[in-house]
Amino acid sequence: MKIAVCLRRVPDTTAKIVIAGSGTVIDETGVKFVPNPYDEYAIEAALSLKEKAGGGETVVVALGGDAVQETMRTALAMGIDRGVHLHGTPSPDGLENARVLAEHLRGAGYDVMLFGKFAVDDCGQQTGAMVAELLELPCATAVTKLDIAAGRATVEREVEGGIEQAACALPAVFTCDKGLNNPRLPSLKGIMAAKKKPLEVTPVAPGAGSVTVAALALPPERAAGRIVGEGAAAVPALMQLLTTEAKVI
């Protein structure tokens, strides 16, 4: 079984974000970048599927500039066998990036192609499904359970009020949600081994697409709280505000 994990490099969720002078990108100075947390579920799924099958190959595929290689090495340190770095600048239009990824994945013999359900920086939630569409393959998004047996996949997805079960033939594309697994930490030996694993670099040029970023803005700062009184005496005022102002009751 040959499994691809498509990886995105995103700012650490604890990083303090500053918007660059251009107003359309973030200032990356001093920002720590990590694998997209949802992609870590995809990495863990690839590793455990391979371990369960007792063989196969796992490949991490990432689109981006030089810096994405450090993020790819985290996946290699966790145990992924090799990397394919599609070297180029990602487009703000998810479809253009999906085209580049699909171009690489097509004909490469992957049985399972895994993505995070979305990247936590732009929350586009498009790439996995678009790649599946471009490759004309089945796709299940936001899976919380993924089993492979006899060339078929069965998955579970958390939907409103319940769990949806679905099945499809392989090859197929899956995007991974929290709950699918508990991603392992890269071991120290894994970190040392990652340097020696093959990482192939292929230049790519995503198209401009039809989406441009007009402006980025930070969310407004949360307003200070208001103390309406103390003890039982404050309850009527609080109830009134919750009903008329916050409108939560």
Binding site: T14, E70, T74, A77, L185, L188, K189, I191, M192
Partner: protein, 396 residues
């Protein structure tokens, strides 16, 4: 609770920029492990006076034991800076957990690696790296702490091996160890050159390890007394390349190196907790961090953390070049542990009454660091080591 918010380290001087990608990756993996596995249980373990034994397999799986020893023995083969960063991150959690890893790696695996035969290395190192064997290091005795050369534990050669007798004290991991490195005099009781190391399986008749009770420090770590009463060992139990007091002191230099890093971790944890608390704790209608007295505390803490970080990093680079002399290691152990003690104490004070609770970490670190200040060469002994280095005159 202020201390529970996500910990992101302390790096005022872009020390990260001086680390390689692998060194940062190692640091991050251990930091995540501490967040996920150690922080949720450490308070309870400390109160109960219990080492979190259930964490040993996970630590081994990550490769935390003897991580700077070669891969051929099942170790990670890291450089000394990456090894130091492991110690830093473990001690950010708790000095007792770092002590466990220090003993296993620097005081048990290192002497087997350095003074052991090929058979001893092949047998013991992979098992210790995998955590299937737990080691301890028996040098200190009830009456010989700072002066280990005075030890009265003896190893007498017999027809078919060795006979050990003596008592060791203040032995980390002593009661849970499956194997001990015991230092004993093979010749005259006044002859420090006759000190040799022995590999003693804890199952050997006559060997007993018993926990020392009543500790107010390092409560999440086992500290034990080891009794050796007519312990018969085969001939091949001796570490063939050990010889004289210098051998155990070489081990201590390794462990002290890790402690110098570990103290930085404890100091970072306390500073981080104090900073968060100072910003969020409102008194007299404003954050206490808006008062000059707390700002001075925080400025002093950050300054000392930053100095300590730079000190150990350069020491690590020197160690990788084979230039970390015992005196250089002494300087870093002495400075960093002392600074960490001060930082932990000031952090606890900044936290006010909350600072005495186990939900916050500074007082636990403060209590732990009093042991760290005292063990592996007391602060005062390191003053004398440096004094001798400076003047050429021994004042022991």
């Amino acid at each position: 609770m202020a201390g529970s918010a996500e910990y992101t380290g302390v790096d005022f001087y872009d020390v990260d920029g001086l680390l390689s990608e692998e060194e940062r990756a190692v640091r991050d993996t251990v930091r995540s492990w501490v967040d996920e596995q150690l922080m949720p249980v450490i308070g309870e373990c400390y109160i109960e006076g219990r080492f979190p034994r259930q964490l040993i397999p996970g630590m081994a799986e990550l490769g935390l034991f003897g991580a700077n020893l070669p891969e051929e023995y099942g170790c990670a083969g890291l450089n000394n800076v990456a090894y130091g960063l492991i110690m830093q991150e473990l001690e950010r959690g708790d000095s007792g957990i770092r002590s466990f890893a220090s003993v296993q790696g620097a005081l048990v695996m290192y002497p087997i690696f350095t003074f052991g035969s090929d058979e001893q290395k092949k047998h013991w190192l992979p098992r210790l790296a995998a955590g299937t064997d737990i080691g301890c290091f028996g040098l200190t005795e009830p009456d010989f702490g700072s002066n280990p050369g005075g030890m009265i534990t003896t190893a007498r050669e017999t027809a078919d091996g060795w006979l050990l007798n003596g008592v060791k004290m203040w032995i980390t991991n002593g009661s849970q160890a499956t194997v001990a490195i015991i230092w004993a005099k093979t010749g005259d009781i006044n002859d420090v050159n006759s000190i040799r190391g022995f590999i003693v399986p804890a199952s050997t008749p006559g060997y007993t390890g018993k926990d020392q009770k009543g500790k107010l420090s390092l409560r999440a770590s086992d500290t034990s007394e080891i009794h050796l009463q007519d312990v018969h060992l085969p001939k091949n139990a001796i570490l063939p390349k050990s010889g004289g007091i210098k051998s155990p002191l070489m081990c201590l230099t390794q462990a002290r190196y890790g402690i110098a890093w570990g103290a930085v971790g404890a100091a970072m944890a306390c500073y981080d907790e104090a900073r968060r608390y100072a910003i969020s704790r409102i008194m007299f209608g404003k954050p206490i961090g808006q008062t000059q007295i707390q700002q001075q505390r925080l400025a002093d803490m950050l300054t000392e953390v930053t100095k300590a970080q730079l000190l150990v990093l350069q020491l690590g680079r020197l160690k990788d070049q084979g230039k970390a002399t015992p005196a250089r290691v002494s300087l870093a152990k002495r400075n960093n542990v002392s600074a960490a003690c001060d930082i932990a104490r000031e952090a606890r004070r900044l936290l006010g009454a909350n600072g005495i609770l186990v939900e916050y970490h500074s007082m636990r670190h403060l209590a732990n660091l009093e042991s760290v200040y005292t063990y592996e060469g007391t602060h005062d002994m390191h003053s004398l080591i440096l004094g001798q280095e400076i003047t050429g005159l021994g004042a022991f």
